[in-house]
Amino acid sequence: MSDKRKKQLLVWIGSIAIALICLIPFIWMIVISFSKHPDFLASNKIPYIFTLKNYVEVITTHDLHVMDYFKNSLVIATIVTIIAVAIASFAGYAVSRIKFRGKTSIILGVLAVSMFPQISIVGYLFKIMTKIHWINTYQALIFPYIAWVMPISLWILISYFMQLPTDLDEAAMVDGANRIQTLLRVIIPISAPGIFSTSLLVFISAFNEFMFALMLTSDFHARTIPVGIALFQGLHGEIPWGQIMASSAIASVPLVILTLVFQRYIVQGLTAGALKG
């Protein structure tokens, strides 16, 4: 067999293996979410019966609060994304265009923060939030999340702004625009793809965050969907796997679709965030 044929064969076998590995758990989540008996593998006597019951219960049973958690997550992640990307764009613009003292130390300081473990923050954050009576509110999560996503947002945006030629700014400023106008009317519109990929990554990480949300919220008023799913309890004691998997599907299918549709931007963001040091 020639090397070329051998390679083709290996690629096909590899693809099948990858598809199985990546898809089986996800498909299993969907399968169980539509199952009347989540324990149907236990014995031959239990059949697999397709049902929408889990979804209906999760969406309509008010006491489960799944829709509240989902709404909280969406609202919090959206606000975090808008504010974080806005202030990171301002800061990124300053860093990429203006000379000023202390630039390197400020940037290295912010980036160093990205290696901090959450556990070394969450305890004291709880203390602060208790003191100002913010426990179990949206703002108790929104502000820490904005701070938490700052390093990655800045990292991507700075690397994006750096690629744009400074001629653009100069042309705008010769025409009488000041710095802020240049940023808002020239740089930000041109950087739309970079800003979009930053927004996607920020939204996903705010949506997925767990430890802060676990510590700083206590019920459906502010609890997010990851915490809701982690602490999911049925109304009758036993682990309601059908409902858990239905909630999981509701929460993750939008993210999966978002990722697949905007795959290019996500890959760009991740590689810019990691590789363009």
Binding site: D3, G14, P25, L41, S120, F143, W148, L258, L275
Partner: protein, 306 residues
């Protein structure tokens, strides 16, 4: 004439000063937020670690290094540290290998390449907590998919209690983590692979190099810088492991799969704020040491300065 130059000079000076002021203004929100909500709490945690502060045992009292003395003789804490480091080594190694496999396959030109690149991203897109819950169900003793497959294909005579014994629980956590994070590695490696010129492989083929020789002699050495950066990111991240263990085992059975983050969190939940802070400070330093080690090893610093 001289006057004119001076005023231009003064104007320029003023312009520079105003530019600088604008820069600080644009950076202010970032500095305030990161300073107030990350740096300040970290410092607060340092200070709290010097106090005895237990909710059920007031009053709060300064005890100096008392918590640290307790930490150094706390067997459960050291076990958590050991598990965390072992986890980071094993998981990151497996992720790198699997991610490399993904990347090499989806880098090839074939009909389903676009589809395969999308499929690889799916585990990355699912929130950790949700993938943890799904794996928890797959590992279920009585009706989990894994035991069903194992018994069905005669890999084992009886069902295995995956999350019930310390070794299998540890492996189960590693598998679930690798599944979720290998795509990230694959994306980075793929970017690296695309930068390798095809002509190198052609030359190697002309010289009669086999496929595996091409991988070991061309692909791997040229990917080295990307691999180092990916290792830094993932090692730091896995030393912080929390979400996955919290859902899968809660640190059990009997504390055997507890990570340092889990251990610190439990101290907080039990109301021992001082000791929780001490564990957190220690976690901070473990990660700091690893980062410095990697930065030195990977000469990453030069990259940062560019």
């Amino acid at each position: 004439m001289k006057q004119g130059y001076r005023s231009i000079y003064r104007g320029l000076h003023k312009y520079k000063a105003s530019e600088e002021r604008l820069a600080y203004l644009l950076l202010a929100p970032v500095v305030i937020l990161v300073g107030g909500l990350i740096l300040f709490p970290v410092i607060g945690t340092f200070v709290s670690s010097l106090y005895k502060n237990i909710t059920f045992l007031p009053p709060v009292k300064f005890i100096g290094l008392g918590n640290y003395k307790k930490l150094f003789t706390d067997v459960h804490f050291w076990h958590s540290t050991y598990i965390t480091i072992l986890f980071a080594i094993v998981a990151v190694f497996c992720e790198t290998a699997l991610g490399m496999f993904y990347a090499v396959v989806i880098n090839e030109k074939f009909r389903l390449r676009g589809l395969m690149r999308a499929i690889v991203l799916i585990p990355w897109a699912i929130p950790t907590i949700i993938s943890a819950r799904t794996w928890q169900l797959i590992y279920n003793y009585n009706y989990g998919l894994l035991n069903y497959l194992f018994v069905h294909f005669h890999l084992s005579h009886h069902a295995i209690n995956w999350l019930g014994t310390s070794t299998s629980a540890f492996s189960s956590i590693v598998v679930a983590d690798v599944w979720k994070t290998a795509p990230f590695m694959a994306i980075l490696f793929l970017a690296g692979l695309q930068a390798i010129p095809e002509s190198l492989y052609e030359a190697a083929r002309v010289d009669g190099a086999s496929l595996s020789q091409q991988f070991w002699r061309i692909t791997l050495p040229l990917l080295r810088p990307v691999i180092v950066i990916a290792l830094i990111f993932r090692t730091i991240d896995s030393l912080r492991i929390f979400d996955l263990i919290y859902v899968l085992t809660g640190g059990g059975p009997g504390g055997s799969t507890s990570s340092i983050s889990i251990y610190g969190f439990k101290a907080y939940i039990l109301g021992d704020f001082g000791y929780g802070s001490t564990v957190s400070v220690f976690t901070f330093f473990v990660i700091l040491i690893f980062t410095i080690f990697y930065l030195k090893a990977g000469r990453f610093q030069q990259g940062l300065k560019k």
